[in-house]
Symmetry: C2
Subunit: 398 residues, 2 copies
């Protein structure tokens, strides 16, 4: 293909390392003689349809190393589902701006968007290399070992659970039950990460509630009571999307009713559990809900995650330049005792709108604790960890 | 005074640096020829009354540098209010264990505990040097420039607000209103810290709700609506203890009613604001509630805070050895352009059960934003900050 312009965008929820993917892609694009200009769409495909483009070829060179370390999506993102009439408009704009290389950093929905654009281009004979660059803290994309963004969010959840639980265990009878609410859409990858630094069976967290398993209230309360009796306190991690056996999200249960305007009052999964434990077991409970901090906290970025985010960005551009299209860059873990990932490609048709949940072997029989297999899988993604915390030796006074 | 034993305890809510104070104190005690043994009470005065003591003189030497970096209270804490009959028992135990130096790391309530013990010892002629070492993320102790623990929690809140807001601003129309709930008891020091890295009037956070100012619903909603129209999104930081004009906590308002067991359903301040904004302005809103993470996150420790925590621990022991009693170590900021604190002492009688709220000059006329005076006060406590985040230049495509 002759020289042409390259367009890149970011989509969906931002992460702490999605800018590293942008930087990896832009650096590869700027280094190629096949790329005339590098354009960025503001707010993803939604902005592109409104011709909200900026020129990435003419940014100051010193920007890129700094942007690599900056959390969130520097181009802005969108959550826009393409309508049929958008496809034609998008193709007209690709032609007008002489764009032949199209890179889109995002998750499942973004893969779907790019897939539809790739098919539309093919249908009308417009030569376009469309490559998706994976990104999601939810880690729910198929055909890749894991997703850039997950390692940093998992590191946050693992360390946050460790740190926050220390407050509960320093005075267990004050609030004997601590709930921590994580994100993760329909998959429990983030909630599961909370136990990655647990060393002993009695260490927190003690129960992990993931969306893959239906919530059973009486079983849950019985286990909380038993753990509290044995250890003096209980730390529970719950994914915000956990549902009961009828498929109702925990946050919509309880006697919350409607507000003065008739709108239903949703409490959130953690709030629901706090109220359940308090009213039915008589145990004081409170919750932490780190919210967007888990996707974005710059102080918890996994160096492994950031390096891989950069890598998939670069490899996406190289794949497009090599003539691939309608593919997503994937991470493939190599066999062997030392963690190492290389990249490959997978067809977008197999990725768009698919999701990968926690496989059965990553949860133990109770469904509320991770296995060694999950630890082996996820721990390397967190990068080098801070030193272990010190504990006083229980040396009695003579 | 002849050689005697030294006893130290930790009390109240743990912090990310309260162990640094313990290490500072123990190292000073171990270095003194006047101290025979160094004992630690498990779970503060509550544990001491049950003779739950451990020997800190015989811990492995390599423990102390590691413990200095470990968040939470290694000795465990308590929230125990001494009863009259406890005083006599405590004095009998001090005699039995030949303790003449008593150090207690904590906040207002802990100062009260120590003050009562000091008076009781004086009353019965038992020579005791009782010194309080300040600690609280709430920063509400009087007579000290600030409290160890606050700098790290403030750093957490400032950086978390910056990071989390980036997710909202990357796609403002998805959830245009973000609420972040902080701790702080009756004082707005932590909520105020959320704006320390705000550079421009349009930067988040846009509104800060502190307990020092009553919440006015209609005024609040009008301002949220106006900011959302102007900027496209609104970030609001609320202290969990904010009350309305009748003195009712926000978390107890709303149509939450009672649960199936007749217990009142408390929503929390952030949840209440989310519902208010959603039902009355029709704006999608969500909240982050970092909870105990703000007091404990090891990744956000302020190096200034940790150094000062160590310092007040050491100075507490030196004051006791020098014959002072019934005093708390305070931090005194020196005049001049470069931040520097030294220590002094203040009588416990002036500290116990007193609290220091945000002074009027630290909030602007609206009562919902900090002033430059607060920034000058608080910013040095955060320690050196990570580099500023990069932004793409809005260079149009030619």
């Amino acid at each position: 293909m002759a020289r042409a312009n390259l367009l890149i965008g970011q989509s969906g929820g931002a992460t702490a390392v999605i800018n590293a993917s942008l930087v990896g892609a832009v650096e590869a694009a700027l280094a190629s003689e096949r790329v005339t200009n590098v354009y960025g769409m503001l707010h993803g495909i939604e902005g592109f349809l409104k011709e909200e483009l900026i020129d990435l070829s003419r940014q100051p060179a010193e920007l890129w190393p700094r942007l690599r370390e900056t959390p969130s999506a520097a181009l802005g993102t969108c959550r826009y589902r393409l309508r049929a009439e958008d496809l034609e408009h998008a193709l007209a704009l690709l032609r007008r701006y002489e764009i032949r290389y199209l890179l889109y950093i995002g998750g499942n929905d973004s893969a779907d968007t790019l897939h539809r654009l790739a098919l539309a281009a093919q249908d009308c004979g417009y030569e376009l290399q469309a490559i998706s660059i994976p990104k999601t803290i939810d880690n729910d994309l198929p055909l890749t070992d894991h997703c850039p963004g997950y390692g940093s969010a998992a590191r946050f959840i693992a360390l946050a659970t460790l740190d926050s639980s220390l407050n509960t265990s320093s005075i267990p009878w004050h609030y004997p039950v601590k709930i921590i609410e994580t994100m993760g859409r329909d998959a429990g990858w983030l909630a599961a990460a909370s136990a990655l630094l647990k060393e002993d069976e009695s260490d927190p967290p003690h129960l992990i509630l993931v969306p893959e398993r239906p919530f059973r209230q009486s079983e849950f309360l019985a286990r909380v009571e038993a753990i509290q009796r044995r250890l003096g306190y209980v730390v529970i991690v719950v994914a915000e999307t956990v549902r009961d056996e009828s498929g109702r999200p925990l946050g919509s249960l309880g006697a919350l009713g409607v507000d003065a305007f008739g709108h239903p009052l949703l409490s959130g999964a953690a709030q629901y559990l706090v109220e359940s434990v308090r009213s039915q077991l008589g145990l004081r409970a409170r919750f932490d809900k780190p919210g967007d901090l888990q996707r974005m906290a710059s102080a918890y970025v996994s160096p492994v995650d950031r390096a891989e985010a950069l890598l998939v960005g670069r490899q996406g551009v190289l794949a497009a330049l090599a003539g691939y299209s309608d593919q997503m860059v994937t991470l493939q873990r190599e066999e062997g005792p030392v963690y190492r990932c290389t990249t490959s490609l997978a067809p977008l048709a197999s990725i768009a709108n698919e999701k990968r949940c926690l496989p059965a072997e990553y949860l133990d029989e109770s469904g509320t604790m991770i296995t060694e297999a999950f630890r082996d899988y996820a721990l390397p993604l967190l990068g080098e960890l801070p030193p272990r915390y010190a504990q006083l030796a229980p040396i009695k006074v003579r």
